[in-house]
Symmetry: C2
Subunit: 295 residues, 2 copies
């Protein structure tokens, strides 16, 4: 495992109903990232389709595929050719009736370095993921690659400090969050700014609390009925272990953003902000309870 600095790219893209076109878009941007010197590229959540979880529709299970399968194979070819690590996202068919929202990591030689099945599954209006995805049972994952160890988490996971902690403690240099999040257009005026701020705040907090880089990779564009649907808010960003945003995408366009992840910065950050030193592991056991309110 390399421990030197490397450039990471977050690929913010639009997604359509054409799986091949989406793969071509991803490929175009991964090539661009590699050309710019990135050694790791991260794609948004479920990038091969529009965000189908806006409805509960049995026909959408057709979109699922095995891991390894067509998407990992395509990404593997690209990672081998460009010698770049790719963090991808797959609607995984594990068995008839068992589907997952899965992050996959292709190493720079095209091998499947590892996978992570989304542990926290949302279910909210237009985000009906509990209908489609079985919660992950691989636990939290930090995966070794030629760039170093990458922690994979997916979208809803980003609201859970436990997920970031358990991934970072495994030695991840960077936590990568493939994401599909946006506004209900009817709510945007009142809630848009605070929702976006909360989303960024949570992920910056994971970087700070754990002394780790974070890459949040969202899609962009409006999907669904014109007077409804979801306006994906983009805003992909990469921040350092102090929570400083190093690179940030706009909200309204496809974009590749690149920043450097330097393990020596991570080590210095943890020496100066030594939060991991003082964790009260003797006192955290009740975190395994659903609530601590007395009945």
């Amino acid at each position: 495992m390399a421990t030197s600095a490397f450039k990471i790219a977050a690929i913010q893209m639009r997604c359509t109903d054409d799986a091949d076109r989406n793969l071509a878009t991803a490929e175009k941007f991964i090539r661009k990232a590699a050309k710019s010197g990135a050694r790791m590229a991260c794609l948004p959540e479920l990038f091969r389709s529009t965000y189908f979880c806006q409805t509960e529709d049995h026909s959408k299970f057709q979109l699922a595929e095995p891991v390894p399968g067509p998407t990992t194979k395509a990404l593997a070819g690209l990672s081998r050719e460009l010698e770049i690590v790719i963090v991808g996202s797959v609607f995984e068919r594990r068995a008839a009736g068992v589907y997952h929202n899965t992050a996959v990591v292709l190493d720079a030689d095209g091998s499947l370095a590892g996978m992570y099945r989304k542990m926290h599954i949302p279910d909210d209006p237009l985000y009906y993921e509990k209908f489609y995805f079985t919660p992950g049972d691989l636990g939290f994952q930090a995966i070794d690659t030629e760039c170093g160890r990458v922690g994979t988490l997916v979208c809803w996971d980003q609201w859970y400090p436990e997920a970031a902690r358990l991934t970072a403690l495994q030695g991840a240099i960077v936590l990568a969050y493939p994401t599909a999040i946006g506004w209900h257009p009817s709510e945007k005026k009142k809630w848009g700014a605070s929702q976006l701020s909360a989303w960024q705040t949570m992920q910056r907090s994971h970087a700070i609390a754990n002394g780790v880089y974070v890459a949040a990779v969202n899609r962009v564009g409006h999907e669904g009925p014109k007077k409804g649907g979801i306006e994906f808010w983009g805003g992909s960003f990469i921040c350092d272990p102090y929570g400083r945003v190093l690179a940030e995408a706009r909200g309204d366009r496809e974009e590749v953003i690149i920043a450097e992840c330097d393990p020596s910065v991570l080590e210095t950050a943890r020496q100066h902000w030594p939060f991991l030193r003082d964790r009260r592991i003797d006192a955290y056991a009740p975190i395994l309870k659903r609530t601590l309110e007395k009945p």
Copy 2:
């Protein structure tokens, strides 16, 4: 326990070497807060003295006092008179050789509703707290008052998502963080903005992740040698369960800030951002380990 909305005040003040003067300052601002309709007032960490942890000095143990003791007695008189809940902070002498950094809660009738002994103790240049304070052994605390349940945490705790989670899960409406944090003047130019931003980001993230109000209460002013010491950065704030800052103090002056804590807003926030619903308590056990890196 009341479950209606109430106003909370964060009292940002300067602290001097004169314990009586500091108490008088606290009293002045608590009266002001009560007059403005606040039903709960929170004081900064160790408000009865300058921040003595800048050096390791045995003579400073003279500042310690029991709980209950002079400070809780003085605050109790005030809370009874004004019918206001007070979150205070005491350098606690528990026994010869056993001292704590303790948050105390005086209920609106002057009774000592509860106490919390700081669980996470820092030790960094000019913050030599491990010399003075035994880490708390009461665990995390949410304390019932006439306003509702208040979670008490202290300064360094603010960097620990586990602390916020374990306190919020007990049903706290608001997490109160008495704090003494500032810049090393020599670092301010390079690091000041990112340190302050990280501090605010972490505490806003606790509000968001847990769907709870947060009140961060810092002191203000420079203490210590002119060419050194600590410039306490003020910036006290109160945020809502969406992480929106409702009130914020400046960095350079004493100030009372006030905001409303409404349990019904908290409940609505948790229904719309249902993070507590989906926690993977089956998968969090490794959080009780120091690290998960393989040797």
